[in-house]
């Protein structure tokens, strides 16, 4: 006797025949549904791949499997099955991403989609990631990496450059001290970071709260650190008490935090400079190159190639010219003290070693004011700098163009020094001359 027959006898003996048939079908449907879901769920933590993926790997596990791209370069089509099985994407299977491939027509010779080069293929395939990771894609689109990709930069990363294609690891795998994947491109900076107090705190003292790259620069909406106030926000995000601690000893602490980058004092070994960024004072944002491109023709050239920097008159003409051109923006130069290179910005020292001596900047001929640049933001989001003469910081002609940046002692307007000398000389000579006249003329009388 079968189970169903037994059940019939035990519970359904009085039901009509049609209803009994329907109940039987429903039971079978329920059983098969529960089996399907249990196998699907069971596959998530499992390293095994589905049978369909196994079919793909039949061919793609061959190490020599490759195709030729438009530029003649060979592209390996080999997928190491065991690596893919360990990736976080193992449960979605090959077809979820490679959905343009039709198994019926997928052959070695025909219907192959060809790409001009590896880069074009990576960029095209990255779009597939966006479909599931929409939030991350939006973040990435505003990043400097995305801007560089758009501008044709071959080194700028798309999704697979950081995450790999078939080796996508869990998020925690990136929060390590190996530096990956940032180190692949930014090796020099990463080495400096490792020696910095952040790197030391994490690697030697075991402070897991000490930041790795993505904590300050973010993972997907990566931006040039010095462009906006984002990096400072990142510093103050962890060092919550920093503002109050500075206020205790630093006069005009708020202004210092605005006009001086954290690294300028906390990387004491670094060289400093003053950067004057073309800035829209109404919208409170940096000016981009394309907004003022007609005026840039007069500039002596980007920093890397320029010999003579901008002088105070040229700078005055530049700012005045841009504002006269009728742009909606009200352009000024926002001055900020920074370290000279990105590498030096990572040489952060322990708090005790930070510069606390006011005279480091506020004194005649102080080092940070010997190096001046004027910068704006390129279309790709990267900052472009032009050299300027150091005298722009002390010229009376800069009163308007560099009105927002002034450091006591360090950027004195030289004309005022001359006026002071004249005033003292004049003030002292009036009594002397008057007294002499009184004596002489009375004697004469």
């Amino acid at each position: 006797m079968t189970i169903s027959n037994r059940k019939d006898k035990m519970t359904m003996g009085r039901l009509p025949t049609d209803l009994r048939k329907l109940a039987g079908v429903m039971f079978l449907v329920l059983c098969s549904f529960s089996w399907l879901t249990s196998t699907a769920l069971a596959s998530i933590p499992d390293d095994s791949l589905s049978a369909e993926d196994g079919k793909c790997l039949k061919c793609h596990s061959f190490e020599r499997l490759s195709t030729t791209l438009g530029d003649g370069e060979k592209l390996s089509l080999h997928v190491p099955g065991e690596v893919f099985a360990k990736s976080v994407h193992n449960w979605i299977g090959c077809a979820s991403c490679h959905r343009d491939i039709n198994l019926n027509t997928h052959s070695l010779s025909k219907n192959k989609k060809t790409y001009a080069n590896k880069r074009e293929r990576s960029i095209a395939l990255a779009k597939i990631c966006y479909e599931c990771h929409e939030d991350k894609s939006h973040q990435y689109e505003g990043s400097i990496h995305a801007s560089l990709v758009e501008s044709g930069n071959f080194a700028a990363p798309v999704c697979t450059d950081c995450h790999g294609s078939h080796t996508v690891k869990p998020k925690a795998a990136y929060e390590t001290l190996t530096g990956g994947p940032c180190k692949n491109c930014h090796a020099n900076i990463f080495d400096v970071y490792l020696k910095s107090m952040h790197g030391q705190a994490r690697s030697k003292l075991g402070h897991i709260e000490a930041p790795v790259c993505s904590d300050c620069h973010r993972a997907h909406d990566v931006n040039a650190a010095s462009v906006e106030d984002r990096l400072k926000e990142a510093c103050l995000g962890c060092h919550e008490g920093a503002k109050g601690a500075h206020k205790k000893w630093l006069p005009n602490a708020g202004l210092h935090l605005q006009a001086v980058s954290c690294a300028a004092c906390h990387a004491p070994a670094a060289r400093r400079r003053v950067d004057l960024m073309l800035f829209d004072s109404v919208a409170q944002r940096p000016i981009s190159e394309n907004e003022v491109s007609p005026r840039l023709g007069n500039l002596p050239g980007p920093r890397e190639s320029s010999k003579d920097g901008l002088d105070a008159k040229e700078l005055w003409n530049l700012v005045r010219g841009i504002n006269r051109d009728g742009t909606a923006a009200e352009v000024t130069l926002r001055g900020r003290m920074e370290v000279v290179t990105g590498e030096q910005a990572h040489q952060l020292a322990w708090k005790e070693k930070a510069l606390r001596n006011c005279e480091s900047c506020h004194s005649d001929g102080a080092e940070p004011f010997q190096n001046v640049t004027v910068s704006l933001i390129r279309a790709d989001g990267k900052r472009v700098s032009y050299d300027a003469e150091k005298e722009v910081l002390s010229s009376a002609l800069s009163m308007n163009s560099v009105g927002g940046f002034y450091a006591l002692g360090g950027t004195r307007v030289k004309l005022l020094d001359i006026l002071l000398l004249l005033a003292v000389a004049g003030g002292a000579s009036v009594p002397i001359v008057h007294l002499a006249m009184r004596k002489l003329l009375r004697k004469g009388k």
Partner: protein, 241 residues
């Protein structure tokens, strides 16, 4: 000589606090501006001292303002509302300082409790107290906490502009102090006005001696006139004959 009470106590207190504050502010200001070239005090300490003295001067300014607003002494700035006379007196005073004083001429201004200043003092002290000092106070407060007042600072053209105005006024005071101190020595003795600023009493020639002086001057003038007349008058026909 007679003594007249010219400088009331609140004004004397204000004057000496103001004088020492201005000198201290100029000195600390120069240290702040020329740090690296002048190294008497550390910048941090100098800025703190400069700020505190600045606030002392601001408080003191209101002692001065309140005294004149709430007493009838405000008349010393406008003893007579007569522009023509004011203009004439100013020229006379300037001529005295520029020439008469060398020839031993008397000061054309005669001090009384309600006509304390000569016309040139009146205009310069009003400009200083109602325009220059308030401007220095305002720019000083803005520079004291630039972040707090960033809106106004930006409106005025930025921190460099505000600082430049502050320094220009420092330069003015550096010049003015020499002149002010020198003019204070031009009393009947070199220290007469300075002593009076402590005691409140100015020593003034009494009317008799003033009249005597006046008569003396009058006689001298008459003599000079007669000599001139004698030289220029043509001889009378009687004398010819």
């Amino acid at each position: 000589m007679k003594k007249i009470y010219i400088h009331p106590l609140p004004i004397r207190i204000w004057h000496w606090i103001n004088a020492s504050s201005v000198i201290a502010l100029i000195l600390t200001g120069l240290q702040i501006r020329y740090v690296g070239l002048v190294n008497v005090m550390s910048l941090q300490l100098t800025v703190t001292v400069h700020n505190w003295i600045g606030f002392l001067l601001i408080g003191n300014f209101f002692i001065w303002l309140s005294f004149y607003l709430f007493s009838d002494k405000i008349r010393i700035y406008h003893p007579e509302l007569n522009p023509k006379k004011y203009y004439r007196d100013s020229i006379r005073q300037a001529r005295y300082y520029g020439w008469g004083i060398f020839r031993g001429a008397p000061n054309p201004h005669h001090m009384t409790p309600y006509n304390k200043f000569n016309p040139l003092q009146r205009v310069s002290y009003q400009i200083i107290m109602l325009l220059v000092i308030p401007l220095q106070i305002i720019t000083g407060i803005l520079l004291w906490d630039v972040e707090r007042f960033s809106g106004i600072v930006t409106l005025l053209g930025g921190v460099r502009v505000v600082d430049t105005v502050h320094v220009l006024i420092l330069i003015f005071f550096a010049f003015f102090l020499f002149i002010h101190v020198y003019l204070a020595t031009l009393g009947h003795t070199a220290t007469a006005h300075i002593k009076a600023m402590f005691t409140g009493y100015e020593e003034i020639e009494d009317e008799k001696s003033m009249d005597a002086n006046k008569d003396k001057r009058h006689d001298e003038d008459k003599d000079k006139q007669q000599i001139r007349m004698h030289i220029t008058r043509p001889p009378s026909p009687l004398q010819i004959h």
